[in-house]
């Protein structure tokens, strides 16, 4: 029964990973940017939420409403300035700039908030509790909520991309940005919108992570970035639901690893990641043949 519990846990954690991953997938799919600072942005959002709650004493849910839009705006600005500047100069520069950003953010957080971990207290007994299915399976409410939110976000993103004007523009620019220019679209602006969405989703994920687990300055790179990437790669680039699948596979792999030996949890995930990278880099859902 411990195995069943583990697998359910893994599946549900996949939702959280998918939430982290969809922004990364969007930025890479649209702008071809591997944002090495992606995980750290989630941590920033979490710290922002903590800060807002500490200062204003508003309920936790309000912190979402404040922090997520702020991060979206930050995403647009950062994309139009720093990242676009790096993109214009080449792939090397983009990697260097996002890596630099990651280090600066981490050390900035370290400097101002110390290395201590923090958590976002939910204060809601419902959220921190759990329910039982049958006699031996226990599932935490928070994780279910996160999974549900992830599904809703993915549905929303899918609808946005397929049916709205900007969604079409984003897909068009991702296909051929020159042709989009010829149709009158400023691709830099469209990139900005995509980045704003990516930052918003990762902020959402970061705040949830702060509630589910703990945040420290290095959580971004220790935990989040590589897991988010693993979810994208395993699931397959170019597919939103692929990131959910990838997240689930990652989560389950980790839980299986943990069942074998608690210290193997993270390692198991990495091994699956490496295996996919080597054997099937296009991921489980992709029809295309190379990354």
């Amino acid at each position: 029964m411990a195995w069943v519990n583990a697998i359910i846990q893994g599946v549900l954690t996949g939702g959280l990973y998918a939430l982290f991953a969809c922004g990364l997938s969007l930025m890479f799919g649209v702008m071809k940017v591997v944002n090495l600072a992606h995980g750290d942005l989630a941590v920033v959002a979490g710290y922002l939420a903590i800060g807002v709650i500490t200062v204003t004493h508003i309920p936790v849910l309000w912190s979402f409403i404040i922090v997520v839009p702020v991060m979206a705006v930050l995403g647009y600005v950062l994309q139009r300035t720093l990242i676009q500047g790096a993109l214009d100069r080449g792939v090397l520069t983009t990697l260097i700039v996002t890596f630099g950003l990651s280090i600066v953010i981490e050390n900035g957080l370290l400097q101002f908030f110390t290395a201590n971990s923090r958590a976002i207290g939910t204060g809601l007994p419902l959220v921190s509790g759990s329910f039982k299915v049958g006699s031996q399976i226990q599932i935490g409410y928070l994780l279910v909520i996160i999974f549900a939110v992830a599904v809703v976000v993915l549905l929303g993103l899918q609808y946005f991309l397929s049916a709205s004007k900007y969604g079409r523009l984003i897909r068009a620019v991702a296909d051929d940005k020159e042709a989009a220019q010829l149709a009158g679209a400023d691709y830099r602006h469209v990139f900005g919108i995509a980045a704003a969405i990516a930052f918003a989703t990762v902020a959402l994920a970061g705040i949830f992570y702060g509630m589910y687990s703990q945040l420290s300055p290095t959580t971004g790179t220790d935990t989040i970035l590589l897991f988010a990437f693993a979810a994208v790669v395993i699931g397959g680039l170019g597919s939103l639901w692929g990131t959910l699948l990838g997240g689930v596979v990652l989560g389950v792999a980790q839980q299986i690893g943990a069942q074998i030996n608690i210290s193997n949890e993270v390692l198991a995930g990495y091994i699956v990641f490496l295996a996919v990278l080597v054997l099937r880099p296009q991921g489980l859902t992709s029809r295309r043949t190379q990354s």
């Binding site: 890479f28 071809k32 940017v33 591997v34 090495l36 720093l82 500047g85 790096a86 100069r89 792939v91 090397l92 520069t93 990697l95 260097i96 700039v97 890596f99 630099g100 950003l101 280090i103 600066v104 050390n107 900035g108 370290l110 400097q111 790179t221 590589l226 990437f229 693993a230 790669v233 210290s263 993270v266 390692l267 990495y270 091994i271 990641f273 490496l274 990278l277 080597v278 880099p281 990354s291």
Partner: protein, 361 residues
């Protein structure tokens, strides 16, 4: 006139090709002098200073390797810390079994070079962003695997045995010389490699990979060579790190911070030139020493400066110097002198030489 016009406008015999714009034959001698002076340092300065310089050696070696990878082979690796850790652990393992850590240095180099081969097999087909992430995951994975072995200290690491017989001053001196030796060999190896055929292939790849491939250049082989050399270099630096720290702690030796430091030092100093990492390391050390009491600040500033330079002054600080002084301490390029002109000799040297030739009255 454009380069094409310059080279085709005159018959071949009247065009002269040299390796550097100024006659810098004397810099080879200069480098030798620098090394000798550096070697004498432990006799002159306090051991506190030599310890700091050892840190500089480590960063310089690492930065030179990262420069080789990113600046010449176009491989942005965010996982070189894997080799730093591997090198440190190789020394630890050998020391546990009775070998002197100093004697273990070449083993660390070779061992890491060999370890680079299966790693290359895993990541070589991946492109830029995926390559970067893959190297990072690989490094994290290697760390997690090593942490499982309690014989080398598990998750907390252990002190490095085999060095207790030395007095403190002597140990510092030996560590210093080891660091100097490693750095000198590393720089020399890079220089020779870039000056020779691999360097030519790498420059060709840098300019136009497709054209390079279709001219027969062995692109994959050149990149593999670079990856192996960089692995060996970073591993040796890790070995020196272990010796200088007198302990090996997985979180410390496998930290991505190493990549941050080597990347930033390279970019600030100048990506794509051998002199760049030297300058960048100097800047890094200065920043680190002045801001040491402010903990994380030096990395923040280093990072911001690196970002700024990557965006606005692509060739880094050395690039700026090179533009104005046309100075190459490590000549690896080619210069064209149409009409058979000779490259200008330094005035000092020509005065010296003419005095030597002319019999004194």
């Amino acid at each position: 006139m454009s380069l094409v016009a310059e080279t085709t406008a005159r018959p071949a015999e009247t065009v002269r090709v040299t390796r550097s714009r100024r006659n810098v034959a004397w810099t080879g001698a200069g480098a030798l002098i620098v090394v000798v002076v550096m070697a004498l340092l432990p006799y002159i300065v306090y051991s506190g200073t030599t310890s700091i310089i050892v840190q500089g050696f480590i960063v310089l070696t690492l930065a030179s390797m990262w420069n080789l990878l990113a600046g010449y082979a176009g491989l942005v690796s965010v996982g070189q810390q894997a080799f730093v850790g591997l090198g440190a652990y190789l020394v630890l393992i050998l020391a546990i079994h009775g070998t002197s850590p100093f004697a273990a240095l070449p083993v660390a180099a070779i061992g890491c070079g060999v370890a680079a081969l299966p790693m290359w097999w895993l990541v070589s087909r991946l492109r830029s962003g995926y390559f970067a992430i893959a190297t990072w995951v690989l490094a994290a994975t290697i760390m997690l695997i090593i942490e499982k072995f309690s014989s080398v200290g598990g998750g907390t690491g252990m002190p490095l045995p085999g060095l207790s017989g030395f007095s403190s001053v002597l140990l510092t001196a030996y560590t210093y010389w080891a660091g100097l030796a490693v750095t000198t060999v590393a720089l020399a190896a890079i220089y020779l490699m870039l000056r020779g055929r691999p360097g030519l292939v790498l420059t060709a790849i840098r300019d136009d990979e497709v054209a390079a491939r279709s001219s027969g250049a062995r692109v994959g082989l050149a990149r593999l060579l670079v990856f192996v050399v960089a692995g060996a270099g970073c591993g040796t630096a890790g070995a020196v790190l272990a010796i200088s720290q007198l302990q090996v702690n997985p979180g410390a030796v496998f930290s991505v911070q190493w990549t941050a430091e080597m990347a930033f030092a390279t970019i600030i100093g100048g990506l794509g030139t051998i002199e760049g990492p030297i300058l960048g390391t100097a800047v890094y050390m200065i920043l680190q020493q002045t801001l040491a009491s402010y903990n994380a600040w030096y990395l923040i500033i280093l990072g911001l400066v690196a970002i700024a330079i990557a965006l606005w002054s692509r060739r880094g600080l050395w690039g700026l110097i090179d533009e104005h002084l046309h100075l190459r301490l490590f000549p690896v390029g080619y210069w064209l002198w149409p009409g058979g002109e000779k490259p200008p000799q330094s005035r000092l040297l020509s005065r010296l030489l003419s005095r030597l030739r002319r019999p004194r009255p």
